[in-house]
Amino acid sequence: MRATEVRGSSRKTLDRPQRPLSRLFSIAFRCLLLPSVALCRPHAAGASDAGAYTELSISGIDSLDPAWAYDGASEEIILNIYETLFAFDKSSVVKLAPRLAAKVPSRRNGLISKDGRTYVIPLRRGVTFQDGSPMTPEDVRYSIMRFMLLDRAGGASAVLLQPLLGYDSTRDEDGKLKPSAWRDAARAVQAGRDRIILHLPKPFAPLRSILASWAPVTPRRWAAKNGDWDGSEKTLAKFNNVEKRGTWLFDHANGTGPFRLERWDRQAMEVVLERNDRYWRKAARLSRVVVRGVNEFETRKLMLEAGDADSIYATWQAFNQVKALAGVRVIEDVPMIEINPMVLFTYHVQAAGNPFIGSGRLDGDGVPPDLFVDTDVRKGFAYAFDYAGFIRDVSRGHGTPANGCIPKGLLGYEPRAPLYPFDLGRARRHLRRALGGALWDRGFRFTMLYLAGNDERGIVCRMLARNLASINPRFRIDVRPAEWPAFLDASVSGRLPAYPDAWQADYPDPHNFAYPLMHSKGYYPKSQGFRDAEADKIIEQAMSESEPARRKKLYARLIAIEHADVPHLLIEYPSNYRTQRTWVRGWVSNPVFPESPYGAYYYPMWKAAS
């Protein structure tokens, strides 16, 4: 009946004489409307598949090669596909559990020699790679050597080169491969029948932590068969400092981990992982994991709300928005192992053609290049920052005031270590004394750059500028954002008198903070021109010391030196939060895991019925 009516009405319409323009209009309308009606079917949310998990991040990954990747996004994927010898036990950043190793070596179990220079690591049996081939000690040896010897410019190889070979780079000053590099590595890493033996040039306490974070095991024969490095000295030159896409492992993966690579879609900034059903432990509960880069926050939020995403990357600025979403759980106060933000002082600024120091003289319209050599200047700045106010107002009360270069959670963190209080009176006293009183009389003017888009660091600069100007109106700091290339250029060339930055752990050990922040050969002190012989000595002693109590004591002394020297203002040990759907279960917070708390080790996770 209804069909007849429709047909009838159509005929009636067609019978009616139409003007050409009206007909055109009618055709166009139908052309647009009819497909639209066909397209308007409700969208089925991805969450309906309880085995599939979707994480929305903000960027794509850089490489799948464990010896190349040095960014959180890539490392997160790699550590779901590959496995390291040890892993951090659940949420701990100190306690290790064996993963591909059968035991965690220690002095107590006799697997670390008395002099701390030999590590014997028994390996787990019965582990297979995702292609079905068995993991052998030779694979472990190859993976550690490959991680060190590929040593790409700007890569992470130095974290293992330093403890195992005693030097930071496999290349000499001319950029040529050191002739002894392969032999040194082969001597340092040896494979036994069911174990791996490491020989260190000197004791290095953080080694186990490094091996729990880096150099996951890759199959040598599979890699070599596909044109990657075969592990020999002869072919090393071709692979040392190799181009990013010059290795087979750049976009192929074959690990022992709970997930295998299904696809890396670089166009969609998406990685798809599938459950490894041959996994040596019980197979993961999630069958599929999609990690996708979605730049726009609103889009990520809508996808989370619609159930197309199970967890998303969100910043503190978005906290209230995501907290208000129905069906979404926000896990607050997730600890981080980092110092963020902090302000670095450059002791000897590069003066030539430097626009950031004004006139370059102490005439009220610039600063002399060595302004921050004077301890009173640095202390004046330290007292002029409102640390508690920053954490209260900017970090919304989350985070801990930073009182030293060892962050909360690590051995050596001392909660009772003194802080610089926000005290403008004391700041005034130090700045009056600075440069024999000339600074107070003439004033200064310089520029602080911060990374564009990082509003928190911009606020740090403005707070400092405002407080100093309130002490003496002749103290002027111009605050400017800069895109990353401009910021990098200005900071590495030593042209910034003071600038905000942050430091994140390569591995969770106090050495990874003490060295880059306080050792004269560490990155920051080197570029700042800061040097304290006692600090250097303490850091080297603590690095070799395996007894935790003695290490802790050494770091306590280091923090006291840091407090007296003030080479930087450390502002906050931040905490973060995670945003996920309420049906997500099993997420384990561990700040060591790459991209935590947004990223995840998916093995223990699953989705409850929605």
């Binding site: 323009l21 639209s36 410019a153 400092n241 990098l488």
Partner: protein, 339 residues
């Protein structure tokens, strides 16, 4: 043909000029700034010198340009760090997605723009004209990110009709299955050729919102240009003569006036298609659409010089081709130009 030949011969010169200009501009950036492409976090900052050395960033400009040109002539446009693939591959991957979106937006923009522009002129100051004027004003006034987000919030966030991205997880496996062929890279077309209507409808649904946003934003200009060109033509003597001869109004408008009014419309349409094909940054970002615009903006932000040069080359080629097409179309609609 000679005209076309001349234009195409001109293309290599344009490309050479564009790339030389870009290299010249890049030379103003210090090697440290250019190293920022490879050094992404403070943990890598100690290696900046190593990176500069590795990528030859201190080499003199003519040497760097010479190396690039030599490789480009061999078909190697370099490696784009932001696309994580060679530039030529990136263009091959990203361009079809943008082309698909551009066509989905361009066709309705031109059809509706010309149609309503003509109607608006014919029914000047009547309700239809007022309505199109309203559309034009709102189209001009609404920034694409506002309109895009509004549409996304309503049609995805509220009614769950059209999701962002290029396709949904449901068809993800089908699109990447070995049996699914990608002869054109245009997923809608590929899905039809593969007989996968489920994929076709899914991809088409993902195109609706970004295409609607682009259509609405671009419609305004085309509509106004068509209207004013039509009004100008409708007031001319030859139209009055045609009407006096008793020609039906539809012929007067459709065959005589519209044909002459199309010249500025063709010019504008050629510019529109170039801007759509060159990538629509904001729309692609909001709708998480993996096209050339999203890549272009990432390349520019991160100083990915090979990426920037690749996208600029593409835009130059498109611009020359679009101009050529526009010139040919002028000749089609106006016989006087064929001489």
């Amino acid at each position: 043909m000679r005209f076309m030949g001349r234009r195409l011969l001109f293309l290599p010169l344009v490309l050479f000029g564009v790339t030389a200009l870009l290299f010249f501009a890049v030379d103003f950036l210090s090697p440290e700034m250019r190293a920022a492409l490879y050094v992404k976090n403070p943990r890598q900052m100690a290696s900046v010198e190593d990176v500069i050395e590795k990528y030859g960033l201190r080499k003199p400009l003519p040497v760097q340009y010479g190396i690039w040109l030599r490789e480009a002539l061999r078909g190697n446009l370099g490696y784009s760090e932001t696309a994580r693939m060679p530039v030529a591959d990136a263009i091959r991957e990203f361009f079809p997605a943008t082309l698909e979106l551009a066509l989905a937006a361009f066709v309705p923009t031109v059809v509706l723009g010309v149609l309503f522009g003509v109607l608006s002129a014919v029914f000047k100051d009547r309700w239809l004209d007022q309505a199109t004027r309203f559309v034009a004003i709102t189209g001009y006034s609404l920034p694409s990110f506002v309109l895009g987000l509004l549409l996304l919030m309503l049609f995805y966030g509220k009614w769950h009709l059209f999701a962002p991205g290029r396709y949904s997880l449901d068809v993800d496996l089908a699109v990447h299955a070995a049996g699914f062929k990608h002869p054109t890279g245009l997923l809608c077309l590929d899905a039809i050729l593969d007989g996968r209507w489920d994929v076709f409808w899914d991809v088409a649904r993902h195109l609706v919102l970004p295409a609607a946003t682009l259509t609405y934003i671009n419609l305004a200009l085309l509509l106004r240009v068509t209207r004013s060109a039509m009004l100008e033509e409708l007031g001319k003597d030859y139209v009055r003569t045609a009407r006096a001869k008793g020609l039906p109004e539809s012929l007067v408008v459709g065959r005589h006036a519209l044909r002459n009014a199309l010249i500025p419309v063709i010019t504008l349409s050629s510019l529109l298609i170039v801007s759509l094909l060159g990538g629509v940054v904001i729309t692609e970002t909001i709708f998480d659409y993996p096209g050339i615009g999203r890549w272009t903006v990432m390349a520019a932000q991160e100083l990915d010089i090979p990426g920037v040069i690749g996208t600029t080359l593409l835009a130059s080629v498109l611009f020359v081709i679009a101009n050529l097409c526009a010139d040919l179309l002028y000749a089609v609609v106006d016989p006087r130009l064929r001489a």
